[in-house]
Symmetry: C2
């Protein structure tokens, strides 16, 4: 067992693809490590310690900033294929032969790209609050939520990740408190990252002929997790992911949104452990 | 721990509502018992021992034949409200103050009625391969499957509960083998039961204004479980159940149909235990 936790794991650096990747690695040195892929404009500090430390009880957890994001050097690409390739370069640079990957929101797009490009590198996949190429965003309130103003600004993430019910917002405030406990924090992302991630999203959601066909190629056991009412990526797309992927389970939590795993961190850790250890 | 299991639990009888209910009760005498509600034309012998014995490790499992079904006396009603009322009479006759209920297919309709009518009698609910009042059956292949001929006839249940993939049918054959191990068997259901259950289904699926409103009244924690491709009750209705019930989780299993819990009995028992013990 590493003595470190989410709050005190040191930020380390490793070079790959000409990029100096910032990462943190902690947890029990046993089995297959799990690599976390972050959402739009997020850094390593945007994860929930209740989730990362919960999973770290039984395995190594690796958080990182992809190319150009926050404390990593380089340029953020404007498509998810390149983000996936960069993530693979990072994982291989750590000397790892096999990992599990978790991705939330656009991190779920990156996780899919890692699986598509990485071959045997990926053992199992967890996709949270995410979707698929060509996904219909008509019902998404993403643009309204991200263009809103919030006091304090951090409360943007209540609207992104939680429902406007009393119970969900209460869980959201507890999540924000947890994620602010770490004092040695990443810098926020640059305008370049924000613009490039936005462009990548635009390409991702553009429908093509047979937009779903690629999902048949992701053969790894996959756990799809979602909230009942995701305001960013409509919940229905998780059912589509489950249906089109060859070996995917779906879990939907009640009274929750995009960040359902931050509303039910203990239950999610239990479900994820059941899935990863099966 | 009762020394009995699914295969050797004796059939017992208890009177309520003028009906002599046949039931079997086994498992660890601890916590809240769980009462199983069976699908169309099924008897106590149609459950999967891997599921019932799995759950019985930590709690009492109660199987029963509702009014008019198989070894129970009385007449099968032609609506689910009365089936629910009969089930409640049976549970109360056992002297139980609180139970969990599990229902598969039309047993899920009965479980919903038990929750609606039973007040505090029901603690938690598990709904498997089921739907809601007014559910759209356009995509269901139920009529074709139940009117087909099978050699041996028992293979009807492969088409009902499993997918036509090699992996799913292999799991189906293993399920059929498990459920035939018990030698002291229930008689098959009567024509009266088949007709009445069919009429009840016809009423249940007839849409009304605001067919979903009643789901808001089922406030108990609920676990909705479904296969990726249910040929009898389309999978999408499970997402609707999850969304419309105040406190429901959904789990969807891969490569599976109406009887997903018989394809993944160990995984389902783990998920159900996580849910029931939370």
């Amino acid at each position: 067992m590493s003595s470190h936790t989410h709050h005190d794991a040191p930020t380390q650096y490793i070079e790959a693809n000409g990029i100096r990747f910032a990462y943190r690695r902690f947890g029990k040195k046993a089995g297959v490590p799990i690599v976390f892929n972050q959402h739009y404009t997020g850094t390593m500090d945007y994860w929930d310690p209740a989730v990362t430390d919960g999973l770290a009880k039984d395995r190594e957890v690796i958080l990182f900033n992809n190319a150009g994001v926050s404390s990593s050097s380089g340029v953020t690409p404007s498509n998810f294929q390149e983000m996936g390739a960069n993530a693979i370069a990072f994982i291989r640079a750590l000397g790892l032969q096999q990992v599990d990957v978790l991705g939330i929101s656009i991190g779920g797009f990156v996780a899919q790209e890692i699986a598509l490009q990485g071959g045997d590198l990926v053992r199992k996949i967890i996709l949270v609050g995410t979707g698929h190429r060509g996904q219909d965003m008509t019902a998404s309130r993403s643009n309204a939520i991200f263009s809103g103003t919030y006091d304090p600004p951090e409360h943007l993430w209540l609207d992104v990740h939680f429902k406007p019910t009393e119970s969900s917002r209460k869980a959201g405030l507890a999540f924000l408190e947890r994620k602010w406990r770490r004092t040695d924090r990443d810098p926020e992302v640059s305008e370049q990252t924000i613009t490039a991630q936005g462009e990548a999203i635009g390409k991702w959601v553009t429908p093509e002929a047979d937009s779903l066909a690629y999902l048949k190629s992701i053969k790894q056991p996959t756990l799809v997790v979602q909230g009942s009412d995701d305001a960013i990526i409509p919940t229905i797309h998780s059912l589509t992911l489950q249906h089109e992927m060859p070996d995917a389970q779906l879990i939907v939590y009640p009274d929750s949104g995009h960040g359902s795993i931050y509303q039910y961190p203990e239950l999610f850790v239990t479900h994820a452990t059941t899935f990863l250890d099966a």
